[in-house]
Every structure is written in C-alpha cells, then in structure tokens.
Amino acid sequence: MLSSILLILLPGLIAYVVTPRVIKVMKRFGALAPDMHKPGRPLVPEMGGTALLVSLTATVLVAHLLALVGFLDHVFIKKLTLLYLTFVVAACIGLIDDLYVLSPEIKVISTVLACLPILYGGYIGLYTLGRPVLPIVGRLRLTIIYWLLLPFAIAVPANAVNMLDVMNGIMPITCSLAFTSLAISATILGKYDAALVALMLASLLLGYLPYNKYPAKVFNGDVGTIAVGAALGAYAVIFGMEFPTIVTLLPHIMNGFYVITSVKGLKERRKIALRPTVVRDDGVIEANPDPRAPMTLVRLILARGPLCERDIVLSVTVLEVVSCCLAIISSLLMRVHVAG
C-alpha cells in the first residue's frame, strides 16, 4: 500500500522539481520557439517533455528497487518496464523531430518502432494479445487482425496527442484527465495494477502541468507529446484497456481524423499554406473562414465565435471531461464481460 502511494506521488514530485531545471538548460542552449497565440509572440523554451522522460526514468528505477526488496510484484514491474521502454523509444523519435524536423510520413512510420517492446511482451506471454473486450459485444478473438493493427496502437495515439497539442497546457491537462479516467475504469474492471500505472502517469503530468499551463513557461515539444501519446497506446495494449482508451482519446482522434481528411493526407504543418485559425492583434483567436483551411478541433470550437487562448483550452478540457465520463460508462458496460 505504502509502495503504491510512493509510486503515485513520486513522478509528480520529480517532474515538479526537474522541469525548472530543464527550462534553464533549454534557455542556455537557445532552444526557444515563439508562442504564436500571444500578442508580441514571446519566445518560450522548447522540449519540456525531456523533464517527463527524466521523471519517469527515476520513478521506474525506484519501482525496480521496490521490486528487488519484494514490495512489488514481478509481473507488474515487467509490464511497467515495457511501457517505459515504449515511452523512451517514442521520446527519442520526438527528440529527433524537435531537433531535425522529420517528414510526417517518417514520423508516423518511426512511431511504429515504439511498438516493439509491446510485441516482445506479447511474444513472451506476459499478457494476451488479440482478446480486446468491447462493451455489450464482449471479448473478441482477433488472432491475426490484432497483430496487424498493433503498430497503429502506438502510432495513432502518439500522433493524435501531438496534433492536438496546439495551445498552452492542452497535452498535460487532457492526458492527465485521460489517465485518471483510465485509472477509474481499471478499478471498475478489477485491474488494480493498471489503475496504479494510470495514476502514476497522471501524477507525472500533473507535476509538469504548472509549467506548461497558460501562460506557458515551457513547451512540451514532440519529445513530450509523442512519448505521452505512445504511453497511452502502450497502456491500452499491455493492460487490455483498448476500448476505454479509445473513448478517452475521442477529442484527439477527432482532431487527427479531421486534419488528415481535410488536408487529404499526412502533411507537415509548415507546408500547409492556410492556417485553421487567425490570431487578431488583441490576442483573440478566430476560425479561418476560408473553406479550404484545414478542419481542426480548435477551428470547430471557434466556428461559433472568437475566443481567447485560455477559453479554448477550457473548451478542450470540457470535451476531454465528457469523453472521460463516456469511457467510464463504457467500462461499466464492459464489466460484466470481464467478470465473465
């Protein structure tokens, strides 16, 4: 019990302490980017996601020490390590993208690499792959299709979280809410180890949030967004929480789906001529009325009228809360099948 509380609190505390140091390092190396949604476009340090990587690494090391002295189950620690390895691979891809700007195709293909630790876990029989549970229908038996879809299980959430991270605080707020609702869903389904991991990741993001919330002192960078998205995907597969994870990520999936369909394929945002939103001189943001502009979630929020950045973040948060509630209802509908 005490070791679980320690594992929940530790990532948040480390992230809270480490992030200011990462901000200093990024300032020293000149890793700064303009905040496009603020008047005067102030320069803000980038790649704050490295603080998440450092914090999770420290937490996983502590978890291994706890397992060595017998406070944690070995199956749990193996699952946690596989999730961590997925996080690390995705963070490395994000870091390369932050430093050298990868093409969207290469970015999506390289995120597929992050599913290798999960494949290994399935191969050694640490968990069963191909038996996802759906509400109402029950447990499916997808022996071949599941393995074919597995690369998308990491690539889709990683890129969806990355695509929605357009304003201050959206990633840590929405993803911490997603992990919290997944912890509730896991508890409903009787998966207490899954609930513990979800709370650890929620705590990690909440410790980081004070530095990324509006007005941001640091940007996440792809190193943060792709890694957290990949962690969501890995979590879903390792702990058999596929359906609740998809429902919690509805705003992210909606945004990614709209962007890809409206720009007709994967395109680097710098190569899209029309912006989905327009920032007025007074800092208020409005939807681009041009029908050729990409359709994004933020543009949809602004379709009825202009808003300031803080209100847009509030709107996205409310949408995420609704999705989280639907995910919890879905897990209640799944409970009977998991119990059976």
């Binding site: 509805l250 009325p289 359709m295 929020i301 709107s315």
Partner: protein, 95 residues
Amino acid sequence: MSSHYIEPINESSRSWLRNTVPLIAIIVCVWSLLMGILVLVNYLVDIAHGKFLKLLVHFIAFALAGLWLCLWYKLTCMYLSRCLRKKLIYSRTQT
C-alpha cells in the same frame, strides 16, 4: 489600446460554453451511435448460425463501422460549414 485588449476577452469568456456545447453533442452522438452499432452487431452475432451467416455478420459489422466514420465526418462538416456560412453572412451585413 488597453480597453480594446480587455473587451474581447470578457466577451469570449461568456461564450466559451456556447462554442463547446455543439461539440459535446457531437461527441455524445458519435459514442451513442457506436454503442447502437455494437448492440446491433451483438444481436446479429446471436442470431447468425453457420459459417456463411457469421461471415456475413462480420462484413456487416465492418460496413457499419465505415458508415459510422462517414456519419461522424459528415455531421462535423455540416456543423462547421453552417457556422462559417452564418459568420460570413454576418460579416458581409456588418460591412
């Protein structure tokens, strides 16, 4: 300049909920539709006996999933184009 800066933010603070409600409705519609499809597929799986009928149910399930995605996209496009059209008409009448 300062009053010009503060005024729109106050105005937007009142309207963020108005902007969000239709999207909440879209999310709830999309989820409800998915649950409806799952109920239908579950019913079809229960009544289908034999290999051919089971294969047919799988085909229907995939077709329904595709239809669900199309409906989702169409619903959003309709909302966006209606809002932007209204906005354009409003801005033209203002000018």
